[in-house]
């Protein structure tokens, strides 16, 4: 048996999202089982089924960006400046 990851996309602008995983003996049956396991109540109108061995898995180095708080541009620093010095901000 191989393990597959199933993604479904609803109509409109919704992105594909992970529905779950399943085991199947081959690609053809993986598609059949994906439909019945995750899509039988019309949960999506498009489906991707990916052999898990084809998934590239990121490691810690790929994710080492978490401490860069300047990437979080929520604008609160500018907002504070404007409040403390309204004349300057104008």
């Amino acid at each position: 048996m191989n393990t597959y990851e199933v993604f479904l996309k609803k109509a409109g602008k919704e992105p594909f999202s992970h529905a779950g995983s399943l085991d199947a003996p081959d690609d053809e049956l993986a598609l059949a089982y994906a439909r019945e396991t995750y899509g039988r109540r019309s949960e999506g109108e498009q489906m991707w089924v990916v052999d898990r061995t084809a998934v590239l898995v990121g490691d810690a180095i790929n994710l080492a960006m978490a401490d860069r708080d300047h990437r979080h541009n929520d604008g609160h620093l500018v907002a504070e400046l404007r409040q403390s010095d309204p004349g300057h901000a104008r």
């Binding site: 048996m1 399943l22 085991d23 003996p25 053809e28 049956l29 089982y33 019945e36 396991t37 039988r40």
Partner: protein, 244 residues
């Protein structure tokens, strides 16, 4: 029989086949060979019962009564549909043979002059594509392994001739009136060719037999029907007024 009565008999026989196979498939709920197959097979069972309901509703206003309340001799199911398949190999073989036949039977109704029947056929045929994809893929996968071949090939060969009964019964006047787009004999030939084509590379030795079995269509029930029917009406016997 008038053409109308013959058409009703044909629909009733088809409905009985679907009821029996749907009920039989449902035996595998929660005990399928693995989770994904369990879900798929149970879903197919539900589809078959849906087909039965749609067909019964064309010939009766009381679907439950006609499905569960007739004397055994009034059922018209083919014996292959009645077969209790408490062995997975048998269940899979019957599933494939049944659905290959269904595809041909629905196709012969796709341009039926009976509008409601045509609508049911159109809807059912869409589901049939999935049933066949599932059954044929799994059967071919198993036949490709030595162990799977040893187990499945003889069962497929043994059950295949029984499937000829799906094409038994009267179709007199039905092609002329446009209810059927192909005679039962033509459908049967197409089905046998299709079964051989699907399993061509696996060299099954199917002995189709000299004649088409027809006892079930004539009202004679197989040994397995009694247990199957008891299971079907178990809730109804406890509570005749039960509703879903």
């Amino acid at each position: 029989m008038s053409p109308d009565e013959t058409a009703k008999e044909l629909v009733l026989a088809f409905a009985d086949d679907e009821l029996c196979v749907g009920q039989n498939h449902s035996w595998w709920i929660a005990v399928g060979p693995f989770l994904e197959e369990d879900l798929a097979f149970s879903s197919i069972a539900q589809d078959e019962l849906g087909h039965a309901r749609a067909l019964y509703s064309l010939v009766s206003n009381d679907v439950d009564r006609v499905a569960y309340g007739r004397p055994h001799s009034e059922y018209r199911s083919a014996h292959l549909a009645e077969l209790l398949c408490h062995d997975w190999t048998m269940a899979l073989a019957r599933h494939v043979l049944h659905d290959l036949a269904e595809e041909i039977r629905w196709t012969a109704l796709l341009n039926s002059s009976w509008p409601e029947l045509k609508a049911v056929a159109t809807r059912a045929l869409a589901e049939e594509q999935f049933h066949i994809h599932h059954g044929v893929s799994l059967a071919r996968r198993l036949l490709s392994s030595p162990d799977g071949y040893t187990r499945l090939a003889p069962v497929l060969s043994e059950l295949a001739p029984l499937g000829r009964e799906y094409f038994a019964g009267s179709d007199v006047g039905l092609v002329a009136s446009g209810v059927l787009n192909a005679s039962l004999a033509d459908q049967e030939r197409t089905w046998m060719e299709r079964v051989e084509e699907v399993f061509d590379e696996f060299e099954l030795s199917i002995d189709w037999g000299a004649s088409r079995p027809s006892q079930g269509r004539a009202g004679v029930r197989s040994e397995d029907f009694l247990a199957l029917h008891d299971e079907m009406v178990a809730v109804l016997r406890i509570d005749p007024l039960a509703t879903w």
